[in-house]
Structures are given as structure tokens and as C-alpha cells.
Symmetry: C2
Subunit: 155 residues, 2 copies
């Protein structure tokens, strides 16, 4: 398969090893975009209105965790970890240790933690990645440990 | 706390028990909205273009898993499971057994699977819910088993 981007290499299962790390670019959280996302998908007062959010556990306007997740995906897709068949996630474990706030600048640091070749399908395997989303103060906003489907290099 | 909506009751920890079930309303997946979400947060060919998607593991245009997750959250928030302090998720495990397609009509069926009162904070507890997102053919598009923070009824 040709390298469509002409820039970062596109990985096959053969190219990956446990311990490899990748860092994404950055994404600044715009308050209006963050609120619009919440209005559409997670319309709760603490995601929509700073005044209403102050008396909640968030103690101020907080992004929906799904907005943080969506932004983290964008950072991953645009980052340096390019898989030949695309980033196809089967699922994973997600936690939000602290809320994302308007004005935060997020980045994702990824590490390959496990590689399991398929027994039944010799052309593919499952790669487990731990993707840590950090803000500008290096505080962890999200950890998403996911399993992705990766193919071997065609013979 | 007053019932702000005046309709569905708002639950405290005291009101919940393992085995309680809730079903959301429905949400029809609009192809343009699904593609626009992908263009913003998960810009990969199989989420953007039906032709390009045919030769991938998805075998046709598929929603980003994060779009499915966002829609499921909307269904949850608008559904009958209203928590007094709002739906505050700490994290959980998410899987996408099959892709969501344009035109699918999704709903979420939720079940409380565990309730753990906090030892250190007597006014709150952690409720584990299994939220299964199904399409119009009762096929499972997503399972999100999450931990949410729920407060006791004020004395």
C-alpha cells in the first residue's frame, strides 16, 4: 500500500513493538465548541453554563467526557501513529481523572503495551495502546487503553 | 432538590437497586451529521466516504465509534434515568461489537449492575451501569459499562 500522506510512515503489525511511544500535536479547547458539543450530545448544566456548574462536583464549567474523547481521537488520527489499515478500535477502558476546561491545551501520549498476533487469522493481530490525554499543566484528563486491529505487511 | 423537569423522577443513591433497568428513546443516524462528526474528530476514509470504505474492514461507510458514544450519551441524558446530581461518569469499559451505519435507529438499554456506597464519603456512592446501545435490528452497536457518582438523599 502506498504511503498516502507522503509523510509519516504507515505501520503494519510487523513494525510495532511493546514500549513504542508516540506524542500527538496539540488541540486548544474552545469554550463555544465545547458547549455546542454538550448541547448536542450531553446537555447537562455543568457542561453548558459556568454559573450553574459552580455548585456541582465540577466546580465550574467542564467539558463532556465525550468531547475530551473525541478531541483525543482527532489528535491520535492526526498524530504520528499511522496504521496502514487505519485506526480501528475494538474497544477499551476509558477514565476521566479530571475534567477538561475551556482554554485547556490537550495532547495525547501513546504507548504500545501489548501485541497479540491472532491465532485464527495469521494476517492480523490486536495491539493494545495506552493513550494518555494531558493538559498544558501535564495533568491527566483522560486515559484510554484500547485494543486496535492491525494487519501484517502483505507478503 | 426540586424536580427541575417536572416529569421523570430524579434519583438519589437511596432510590437505586441492582437490576433496575431503563430504556432510552431513539435516535436516527443522519449520514451527513455522522460524516461531519468524523471530519471533525475522526477523519479516516472509512468514516468519510462510502466508496473508500468498501475495501476496508468495515465494508462500507461506518460511524466513528465516538459518534456512537456521543449519541448514546445523548440518549442516556434524555432518557428516564435522571440522577439528582446529573450523570457524572468516572469512566468505564467501552466496546463496539459492530459499526453504526447511516440510517440506523439507536436506543440504549441500561441496567444497574453494582452499587458501592463510599466508605470515606458517607454522602455518596459509585453505581455501575451497563449501557447497551442497540440498532433497529436489535444488534448491539456498543456496550459501555460505566461507573457514575451518585449522592445520597440529603438528610
Amino acid at each position: 500500500m502506498a504511503d498516502q500522506a507522503g509523510a509519516a510512515p504507515r505501520f503494519y503489525l510487523d513494525d510495532l513493538q511493546v514500549g513504542q511511544r508516540f506524542t500527538s500535536g496539540e488541540y486548544r479547547i474552545d469554550e463555544e465548541r465545547m458547549k455546542a458539543f454538550a448541547a448536542e450530545f450531553d446537555p447537562q448544566p455543568f457542561h453548558l453554563d459556568d454559573e450553574a456548574a459552580r455548585s456541582t462536583v465540577f466546580q465550574g464549567l467542564a467539558a463532556s467526557g465525550w468531547f475530551t474523547a473525541a478531541v483525543a481521537m482527532r489528535l491520535l488520527v492526526q498524530g504520528g501513529f499511522k496504521v496502514a489499515n487505519g485506526l480501528v478500535g475494538l474497544g477499551g477502558e476509558i477514565t476521566w481523572p479530571r475534567p477538561t476546561r475551556a482554554g485547556d491545551v490537550l495532547r495525547v501520549e501513546s504507548e504500545i503495551v501489548e501485541i497479540v498476533p491472532s491465532r485464527s487469522k495469521p494476517t492480523q493481530g490486536i495491539v493494545t495502546m495506552r493513550n494518555t490525554t494531558l493538559n498544558q499543566n501535564d495533568e491527566v484528563a483522560q486515559i484510554f487503553t484500547c485494543k486496535i486491529l492491525v494487519f501484517r505487511r502483505p507478503a
